[in-house]
């Protein structure tokens, strides 16, 4: 069996948002390059109260010129086996500058730590063209998945 090619890169110290959403300096978008967050709303977002199982089909437009305006978007509340998780993101100039879980399970101390997790700020160096770009993250998580799902729904509304 073919051995998996492993290349370990430098430890990433900044929190990196994942999924298919990628940020990059304007002008580097292209095949294989990172994608600038679409700055225009291209579909009617679902209401925040929408069922987590509802389908949103937010279509991302072709990358447009990044807007410099700041926008705050709240994702759907996503049920996890531990309770609902809802993420609010702030987008500035086509980039996520902050994300926070506004609703999260708090039945125990570990849950309360989720809020610390959910304050990701993308460092400029993390998203520069030559730095590590993370497609996904592997981890033993449950609530984090709800975080990711709510985050994605927020991205789809931007």
């Amino acid at each position: 069996m073919r051995r998996v090619l492993l290349a370990i890169v430098t430890t990433v110290t900044g929190l990196v948002l994942l999924l298919s959403f990628k940020t990059s300096p304007a002008g580097t978008a292209g095949a294989g390059a990172a994608v600038v967050l679409p700055s225009t709303k291209t579909s009617t977002p679902p209401t925040p109260a929408a069922s987590p199982s509802s389908t949103t089909a937010a279509r991302a437009a072709a990358p447009a010129s990044p807007a410099l305006a700041t926008k705050t978007v709240t994702g759907d509340a996503v049920d996890t086996r531990w309770g609902p998780v809802q993420v609010k993101i702030t987008v500035t100039g086509g980039r996520i500058t902050a994300a926070v879980a506004v609703v999260y399970p708090d039945s125990n101390g570990r849950d309360q730590e989720i809020n610390a997790y959910a304050v990701p700020t993308l460092e400029q160096e993390t998203v520069s063209a030559n730095s590590a770009h993370i497609d996904m993250v592997s981890g033993a998580t449950y609530t984090s998945d709800g975080y990711i799902a709510s985050l994605q729904s927020a991205l789809n509304k931007v």
């Binding site: 290349a7 294989g32 937010a58 990701p120 996904m136 993250v137 998580t141 449950y142 994605q152």
Partner: protein
């Protein structure tokens, strides 16, 4: 759940099987039908295997209402695979938990891998199927660019210990990083202790996930076992926070371990 079309692919997020699946396709085209097919299949798996649904095959077997031999062929296949992995891991991986039959430890990885195969059959050769942090990668993230996956620091949510890149590979992380210990050492009946998380990289997410789970159950003694696994590499984070890679898990910068610094 959200589906979004990216300039070079599409993404779908689906809550199912008690966690969240993310399907990321990096081939051009429209993938709505493929997403619908795969997610329908995943929900079918959940209905069949969930221990939280009284009418699932697994719950009915547990309740004595259904014999394993009479269960759905998929259920029999999964239980057969569980038995093989039990033998291979000296029962550190097992579907026979104190609470009864529970193949959940295999079902997620198995389902991720099957979902990836299904996407291939539907025409996608570059994609990732992420089931709650366990991921099967197919092809590349973009033409000429391999997938890069970060490994969560179990002691610092949202921080990454390191990252791994590759094509056509799988990565699974098991541990107690979010809900306290949830893996039992089947030989003692007690919650596994000693390791915060184990990440295993290999060709198959089903096998990588089984190995990661078995290693957590083994505890600190798992390092020797992991070192001997063909085609697999691992990063073990001990309870004290020390991160020890297997010898082939090459590290950037010549550091002796992926220290949490």
């Amino acid at each position: 759940m959200p589906t979004s079309t990216q300039p070079h692919g599409a993404l779908h997020v689906e809550p199912v099987m008690g966690t969240v699946f993310t399907l990321a396709i990096r081939d051009p085209g429209s993938w709505d039908d493929a997403f619908a097919e795969v997610t329908a299949w995943l929900h079918g798996v959940d209905r069949m295997f969930s221990t939280y649904r009284a009418d699932s095959d697994i719950s009915r077997i547990r309740a004595g209402e259904l014999s394993a031999a009479a269960a759905d062929p998929l259920v029999r296949s999964v239980l057969g695979r569980c038995a093989a992995y039990e033998d291979e891991t000296d029962r550190y991986f097992t579907a026979n938990l104190p609470g009864g039959l529970d193949p959940s430890g295999l079902v997620k990885g198995w389902a991720i891998e099957r979902a990836s195969q299904l996407l291939r059959e539907l025409g996608s050769h570059n994609h990732a199927v992420n089931g709650g942090g366990d991921i099967q990668f197919a092809g590349e993230a973009a033409p000429g660019r391999p997938w890069r996956v970060g490994i969560n620091d179990p002691y610092a949510k949202g921080r990454l210990l390191t990252s791994v890149t590759g094509r056509d590979f799988a990565i699974a992380t098991s541990g107690s990083s979010e809900r306290g210990a949830h893996i039992v050492n089947p030989h003692t009946g007690k919650a596994a202790a000693g390791l915060a998380s184990v990440t295993v990289v290999g060709p198959s997410i089903e096998r990588a996930d089984v190995y990661a789970t078995a290693a957590v159950a083994m505890g600190s003694a798992s390092s020797t076992w992991l070192e001997g696994l063909a085609d697999h590499d691992a990063l073990v984070v001990h309870a004290d926070g020390t991160a020890i890679p297997t010898s082939r898990f090459a590290l950037h910068g010549g550091s002796a371990g992926a220290s949490r610094g």
